[in-house]
């Protein structure tokens, strides 16, 4: 378990003081794949580098399995670091060492015999799926292969935690996917806690079970991935979710106004289904039972942690009271409804009166 307590870090240049982390606290449970998302400059990289103290916070504590790393001597800290693997955006492999030597690097000087190191390296390369590249040099490998070597190297000392600092940001979509699958696989196989820093919600969606959203050095929202996706509360989380679900441009279009009957009441809402209810025919049902028209403007379905997660944007027309009742019915059935826009006869009349 990783506990970060009130981490603060400020960078000072001559004229500018930048608060990279402002009182950040997080708890990451064993076995989690914990995602930390934010735009560049949000402080997420600083945060992950504080976990193994590559970056020392100005104040606060980093407690891993009950050991407060900030209180350790350099020697003790180095011993702890062996139990915290880390991979990077640009892989950071040693160019003059081949794949075998790169993976063997952290195993040397630990009192292992040559055969033990040999066996261990080959086993790791087997695990990450590049056993055939043992004697290649990093320059002969693709980005995805390099990251696999980096993962093998990070796992060499049987770590309990794997830190991934934008590990897929330099990869193409296909390699990103395969690296993420590999992370998921080793998370399950080795019961490894994985912390992922990224600016891509797709990455979070693909592998994480929990997510923290960062903005300007502060964790603004945190929760299970389903929670964040189904009910994002902050503006930034909404942006990330909208981007991932593909409706980020929708509100712009909505506000431009499309052809509609100005005399009729119309309500546009985003309707979110999570889990099994995503399979039910709610829209037809309310349309028939409440006598209202439903125009589906947008729809998508995703799988989060293997749970279906559907999102619809629907424009209802008809009797405003009936529409409100229908929404009530949906909410009773654990369908989340978020009204995006409401306009029509009654409302306009009222506006004119006042």
């Amino acid at each position: 378990m990783i506990v970060l307590k009130n981490l603060t870090k400020t960078y000072q240049s001559k004229k500018l003081t930048v608060g990279a982390l402002k009182q950040v606290s997080l708890t990451i449970e064993k076995g989690d794949i914990f995602g930390i998302i934010g735009y560049s400059g949000a402080g997420k990289s600083t945060l992950i580098r504080c976990i193994n103290l590559l970056e020392r916070p100005d104040s606060g504590n980093v407690i891993i399995n009950g050991v407060d790393l900030t209180k350790l001597s350099p020697v003790e800290l180095r011993r702890q670091r062996e139990k915290i693997g880390m991979i990077f955006q640009h892989f950071n492999l040693m160019k003059r060492r081949n794949v075998f030597e790169n993976v063997a690097y952290p195993l040397k000087g630990k009192g292992l015999t040559k055969t033990e190191i040999n066996d261990r390296v080959l086993k790791l390369l087997e695990l990450v799926g590049i056993r055939d590249k043992v004697y290649s040099y990093p320059s002969q490998l693709s980005g995805g292969q390099k990251q696999r070597v980096a993962i093998a190297r990070a796992l060499a000392n049987d770590p309990e935690v794997l830190l991934c600092d934008e590990a897929t940001s330099a990869l193409d979509p296909q390699n990103t996917k395969s690296i993420l699958n590999l992370l998921k696989e080793i998370n399950q196989k080795l019961n490894l806690t994985v912390v992922i820093i990224t600016h891509q919600m797709e990455v979070i969606k693909e592998v994480c079970n929990k997510v923290a959203v960062m903005e300007e050095g502060v964790v603004v929202e945190e929760g299970s991935i389903i929670d964040i996706f189904s009910s994002p509360t902050t503006k930034i989380s909404k942006e990330f979710v909208a981007h991932t679900m593909g409706y980020e441009n929708f509100e712009k279009i909505l506000n431009q106004g499309f052809i509609r009957d100005p005399l009729k009441y119309e309500l546009t809402a985003r309707i979110t289904f999570v889990g099994q209810i995503a399979g039910q025919a709610f829209i037809s049902k309310i349309s028939i039972e409440y006598g209202i028209y439903a125009n589906i403007l947008f729809g998508s379905i995703e799988s989060l942690q293997g749970i279906p997660f559907g999102s619809l944007i629907v424009s209802f027309t008809g009797n405003s009271l009936k529409i409100k009742e229908a929404i009530g019915f949906l909410e009773e059935n654990n369908v989340r409804v978020e009204v995006l826009k409401e306009h029509g006869a009654t409302k306009t009349d009222n506006a004119q009166c006042s």
């Binding site: 350099p74 020697v75 670091r81 990077f88 640009h90 950071n92 160019k95 003059r96 952290p106 980096a150």
Partner: protein, 225 residues
């Protein structure tokens, strides 16, 4: 042989001296190069790791060593040669001949090696060093398992450049009686108007420089991946 005598009579007459001069030059370069590497490489490493934000950041040591290196590097070699005569005499017991020349050569080339090594090591991706830190390597371990390994081609190249400039310096050292090819060219060639002696000495220096440079480049290519 007759033909050689006709083209360059002085060279043939002075042949044993020429051979000795070659030997002296090589010996001077070899001894001073070796010692300069022994001093310069650790100095270069120190200059890198004590930099701001680096492994063993230490502003005092960094600026202190930096200033010493700069001082020796800014002095023209001829001036250095004469300026450190007391030191040379103290260490070598003499200021002439091979022994007398080696000391100033070491003084001139160690800071040169240090700066070259520094620049080679600064070329190493800081990410690689960070990865080693994250794996729990100590600063000392990072120096000899990462910096010196990853920086080896750069260091070899730095030494190549150093040796080439040492060959040049050694010719200058020759002017104050240090022996070697430079001394030979000036004393037996220039001062007696024996053009053939100067030309042959120059060609030999040219060959040595090219061989060293070629070898350095070959090693650089072989060691880089």
């Amino acid at each position: 042989m007759e033909l050689l005598k006709q083209i360059m009579p002085n060279v043939v007459n002075l042949f044993p001296d020429l051979i000795k001069a070659c030997k002296d030059t090589l010996l001077m370069v070899f001894i001073s190069g070796t010692i300069a590497s022994i001093i310069g490489i650790p100095l270069g490493v120190t200059l890198v790791v004590t930099r701001e934000g680096n492994l063993l950041e230490n502003r005092f040591i960094n600026s202190f060593l930096g200033k010493i290196v700069n001082t020796f590097r800014s002095l023209p070699f001829v001036i250095l040669l004469t300026a450190i005569i007391p030191i040379t005499r103290f260490i070598a017991g003499t200021t002439i001949g091979l022994k007398g020349a080696v000391i100033p050569l070491i003084f001139a080339s160690s800071p040169f090696v240090a700066r070259q090594v520094e620049s080679a090591l600064l070329d190493i991706d800081p990410g690689v060093i960070e990865a080693a830190e994250a794996m729990g390597s100590s600063p000392f371990e990072i120096i000899y398992r990462v910096l010196l390994v990853e920086g080896l081609p750069g260091i070899i190249y730095a030494l190549t450049i150093t040796i080439v400039s040492l060959i040049g310096f050694s010719a200058v050292a020759g002017t104050v009686g240090g022996g070697g090819l430079g001394d030979f060219a000036i004393r037996y060639g220039y001062q007696y108007y024996r053009t053939d002696v100067m030309i042959v000495a120059t060609i030999i220096l040219l060959l040595i420089v090219n061989m060293v440079q070629g070898l350095g480049e070959y090693l650089l290519k072989k060691l880089s991946h």
